[in-house]
């Protein structure tokens, strides 16, 4: 739990421990809000969220951390985070202890979270019962997403989240 107790010049904790829930650590700095977006968490959902940005990190220089209280987010959902934060690690917490820890893995397919930038793609049609669907791969060291419907390939996924 060291990462969540970073002290700066003897001041207080950056964010406190949670009793139960999901901690997403090692998020690339500046991407915490996008992580929440990918998980579909906003003012309309019920979870209590703590968020730290630009936290000093030995491994990453700077990183973001997100804590979701009283909710164990399933692995499939969490793996979507790899699209924008491939180094993110997940800690599931019970009674202040880590009960499971794992790294996110890139999903092969994601539905309904990327907007196809091709304006003539059927997935952007307004009145159709359609969800965007993208196939994920790593191309030249970058995460790439290919549209199931029009074949458009994206690399800068963070800019195309729905």
């Amino acid at each position: 739990m060291k990462d969540f107790e970073v002290k700066k010049n003897k001041r207080e904790l950056v964010i406190s421990k949670i009793k139960e829930g999901t901690v997403i650590d090692h998020i690339s700095a500046g991407k915490a809000l996008l992580v929440l977006k990918i998980l579909g968490i906003d003012e309309r959902t019920r979870e209590t969220i703590s968020l730290a940005m630009n936290v000093p990190s030995k491994k990453m220089g700077k990183k973001d951390i997100v804590k979701v209280e009283n909710k164990f987010i399933n692995e499939e959902e969490l793996n979507k985070i790899a699209l924008i934060a491939p180094n993110a690690t997940i800690n599931l917490i019970k009674d202040y202890e880590i009960v499971k820890k794992f790294k996110v893995k890139l999903p092969e397919v994601v539905e309904g979270i990327i907007l196809c930038p091709n304006k003539t793609c059927i997935s952007n049609a307004k009145r159709e019962p359609i969800k965007s669907r993208f196939y994920i791969s790593v191309k030249d060291g970058e995460v790439a997403a290919k549209c199931h419907y029009c074949g458009k390939v994206l690399k800068n996924i963070a800019e195309h989240l729905l």
């Binding site: 091709n118 003539t120 793609c121 059927i122 997935s123 049609a125 009145r127 159709e128 019962p129 359609i130 290919k146 549209c147 199931h148 419907y149 029009c150 074949g151 458009k152 390939v153």
Partner: protein, 301 residues
């Protein structure tokens, strides 16, 4: 259930199987032999964009095999567009027929239609996406006229928006053809497509490769795909094949074009032995007969 949405849905062997079957149907396509193997079957032609050759050749192909056709033209489609969405249209029409041929202005529309259809869907062009049945007839024409598919071919014109090109290059790469890509800079092949075929393709100038070529595949600049007219005007009329162009080519070079052509091939070229685009348009019939039989899985031939 078998759909034909993208040329990549077919393996090299499956493509050869369709071409071989098309060869057996050529005399039926010409009307010199009667065959009723699709008798009792109904094909629905759903054209949300104008079409002459593709729609008519599918209709002829179906009728030559004893089947029947119901049509929805672009005009009717536009009235449907006022109320009903594509998913509902497909759900309903697929209850009326044994296969659907669809042309639609949006890329991916045929794949989406297949997801909502109870019968096989054949993509007859989805915006700037794919046109796999055109590719099969292009391959058929090349094999018929050149005796093989692994030719040296120049693909000339609108490589950015041309769905016939987007399908054809993938198939030619499967058959180890050498492709020379020639276009105005604004109309070059999209990067993701070039990446898929880069081992077999080079971007060149036509005059640098003329002597080597077996085939020149010419496409029209499609005004309807440009986001604005100004962009279209910048490239309109930027290339033309003339009798003069053909002086340096091999004597058995063939010129293909998916048609309609406007002014990218000089009319005088039509009369030369190199012009094969009208034969190519005819081969659309036996090839589409083979496709219809394949998707409807008739075992009776």
């Amino acid at each position: 259930m078998r759909h034909l949405i993208s040329i990549e849905d077919l393996s090299r062997d499956e493509i050869v199987k369709i071409l071989n079957l098309a060869e057996k149907f050529e005399d039926v396509a010409r009307g010199s032999r009667t065959l009723k193997i699709l008798e009792g079957k109904i094909l629905a032609n759903l054209f949300f964009e104008p079409s002459t050759r593709t729609r008519m050749s599918f209709e002829v192909a179906m009728k030559r095999l004893g089947g029947d056709v119901i049509n929805m033209t672009a005009q009717e489609a536009s009235s449907i567009a006022k109320g009903e969405n594509l998913a509902d249209t497909i759900k309903v029409v697929s209850k009326y027929c044994d296969a659907i041929v669809i042309r639609h202005p949006l890329v991916g529309a045929a794949r989406f239609a297949a997801e909502h259809s109870e019968v096989p869907v054949i993509n007859a062009g989805d915006g700037a996406g794919q046109h796999p049945t055109q590719t099969l007839l292009d391959l058929y024409t090349i094999r018929k006229e050149c005796g093989r598919i692994d030719v040296k071919i120049a693909i000339l014109g609108d490589l950015k928006y041309s769905r016939t090109v987007h399908s054809l290059i993938k198939a030619l790469a499967m058959f180890d053809a050498d492709m020379y890509l020639i276009s105005p800079p604004q109309l070059s092949l999209p990067e993701e497509l070039y990446d898929e075929i880069s081992e077999r393709a080079k971007v060149v100038k036509l005059e640098d490769v003329l002597e080597e070529l077996d085939v020149i595949y010419v496409t029209r600049i499609q005004k309807e795909r440009f986001p604005d007219e100004e962009e279209y005007r910048k490239v309109a009329g930027s290339y033309k094949i003339t009798v003069e162009t053909l002086k340096r080519t091999k004597s058995n070079l063939i010129i293909l074009h998916p048609l309609p052509k406007v002014d990218e091939i000089d009319l005088a070229v039509d009369k030369t032995k190199h012009a094969k685009y009208f034969d190519q348009a005819f081969y659309g019939v036996p090839v589409r007969m083979a496709i219809l039989v394949e998707v409807m899985k008739s075992e009776r031939f």
